[in-house]
């Protein structure tokens, strides 16, 4: 089954006033949705974490402290914006943009529902549906590395510099694993467009399970993507970038006021986007049973519900797991996730041809896996000897 991505049907007749208006409405809605959901997410995280730690958490601003993030954000506008002496001023000012703008943009490709029709125009419920789809997300997360790297580099201070070097090494390492997990999805869909990925997951698998990629691809790419995206976001247990005990605040130590707020905003926005992307790639996106009334509403509710579950998982990870050591982080990324997801991808390719080919690829992978384990122990020995 080949699913051609036709793109958003809004643009079939070219661009006129109504289409431009629809684009503006969609963009402003998505923007507002993102900002509000970031405020809610910060509150949600603080509240859940405090429940897990037997604390009360924010409870003063608004009912259940729901307006706490809004109050904090407003406060940051009134704080002095410090520019360190030794900073490279131009890059220091540029870095928050490089962090915040990609965070907004990467949400553009997430399908949050089916299609909606007004007048004789039909549009998909997602900001944009470019044919490169999921590659756009990878591109944006690559640009975000520059924001973190340049922020630490231009601060002219010790801890931000260390934090940013760590951060860029960590983010590029896990980006490779991320890309390999996405490639498995692309292999089964035959298309890069996120809309095609979502429609490809409709229906049932062997009449029992929903035909979501998490089941079709055999869980491994799902968990690789989940771990790699957590590391890509620099969230606990992979928050070595801003390990307070070692690096004060990591790459944004020297940032204050609204510049700091933009980094914070970008971090939480990326968390929301990544959870939405996991839903899109592996959990069927807006797919789920609906009812005949309000037909357009159920996909959106399914999408929001699944995303909320994944956001809870992110908070749960933060509340549960201790931070990894740097060598554990690198070992996990390079020696487990990358070879594992590459091998799984090739096995999936073999299985698509026939069971026999799947077994052949599996056999070759076992040989290489043995070689990798041997190489690991050899490498550890050599490093130990050189270092003494």
């Amino acid at each position: 089954m080949f699913l051609a991505s036709a793109g958003d049907p809004l643009f079939v007749d070219g661009i006129n006033f109504a289409v431009a208006l629809a684009v503006i409405i969609k963009v402003v809605l998505a923007f507002a949705f993102l900002l509000v959901s970031v405020l809610m997410m910060i509150w949600f995280e603080r509240k859940i974490i405090s429940d897990m730690q037997n604390r009360v958490g924010p409870d003063r601003a608004g009912p259940w402290g729901i307006l706490q993030s809004l109050a904090d954000g407003t406060k940051l506008f009134f704080k002095e914006d410090l520019l360190p002496d030794r900073a490279d001023k131009r890059i220091f000012r540029l870095a928050p943009y490089l962090s915040a703008v990609p965070a907004f943009l990467s949400f553009a490709i997430v399908p949050i529902g089916g299609t909606i029709t007004f007048g004789h125009y039909t549009t998909e419920l997602q900001v944009a549906d470019p044919p490169i789809g999921i590659l756009f997300l990878l591109a944006m997360s690559a640009v975000a590395v520059y924001g973190v790297m340049l922020a630490g580099w231009s601060s002219g201070s010790k801890y931000p510099l260390l934090g940013s070097v760590r951060a860029s090494a960590q983010m590029v390492s896990y980006e490779a694993a991320l890309g390999l997990a996405v490639a498995a999805v692309v292999l089964y869909t035959g298309d890069l467009s996120t809309r095609a990925i979502v429609t490809g997951q409709e229906g049932l698998l062997r009449h029992i399970l929903p035909s979501w990629n998490v089941f079709r691809l055999g869980f491994v790419p799902f968990f690789v993507f989940l771990i790699a995206s957590t590391a890509e976001l620099n969230r606990p247990p992979f928050d070595l970038v801003e390990a307070e005990q070692e690096l004060v605040g990591g790459f944004h130590t020297e940032y204050s006021s609204i510049r700091f707020a933009l980094f914070f905003l970008a971090e939480f926005m990326n968390t929301i986007t990544m959870s939405a992307i996991v839903v899109t790639l592996f959990l069927g996106g807006p797919d789920g049973p609906g009812f005949h009334f309000l037909r357009w509403l159920w996909p959106i509710l399914w999408f929001l519900g699944k995303t909320l579950v994944l956001l809870f998982v992110q908070v749960w990870l933060r509340g549960t797991l201790p931070r990894l050591r740097y060598d554990q982080l690198m070992d996990l990324g390079w020696k487990v996730l990358i070879p594992g997801s590459l091998v799984w991808l090739l096995i999936l390719g073999g299985m698509l041809i026939s069971f026999k080919w799947g077994l052949i690829v599996l056999g070759i992978s076992v040989l290489f896996g043995a070689a990798l384990i041997r190489a690991r122990s050899l490498g550890a020995q050599r490093v130990g000897e050189v270092g003494s």
């Binding site: 793109g7 661009i15 698509l352 550890a380």
Partner: protein, 152 residues
């Protein structure tokens, strides 16, 4: 290219938001710099030297290795897109297996030389024996009661 129009619009909105936030902060926030405020923050300790300009070579290794894998991934995407449509998937699979194996051999070589080992140095180099005749076995035998009798 019209499919990219909303992305451009979102880019403008996001950049405007960031720019306007800076302007608002500039208008609302006080600006009273002092020497202490604009010095690099090191938890109260007065910084006395420039931050390091050199990094462990491992970071560069990671960067280079990332480029290799990223290029492999770039080649993987078109491969994955056409895999289901193509008339000869076996050829495609063998092709990609060869390619992946080539990259993987280089990767294994790097790992076996400890290129990606970051850990605390776990093992000291074994000390050279003081005399070739004195091994751990001879030492152990000497302190055993039976061995002591033999020696006496």
């Amino acid at each position: 290219m019209t499919q990219y129009l909303p992305i451009l619009a979102l880019f403008i909105v996001a950049a405007l938001f960031a720019g306007l936030s800076f302007m608002a902060s500039g208008l609302l926030a006080p600006y009273r710099p002092t020497d202490a405020k604009s010095a690099p923050y090191e938890c109260g300790i007065v910084p006395d030297r420039e931050p390091a300009e050199r990094f462990p070579v491992r970071f560069y290794l990671v960067a280079m290795l990332f480029i290799i894998f990223d290029i492999e991934i770039i080649f993987l995407y078109p491969w994955a897109v056409i895999f289901k449509e193509t008339a000869s998937p076996v050829f495609l699979l063998v092709e990609m297996l060869t390619f992946a194996a080539t990259v993987f051999v280089a990767f294994i070589y790097l790992i076996s030389h400890g290129a990606l080992d970051w850990g605390p140095l776990k093992r000291l180099r074994p000390m050279a024996p003081i005399s070739p005749a004195r091994t751990s076995e001879s030492t152990v035998r000497r302190i055993r009661p039976a061995a002591r009798d033999e020696a006496a």
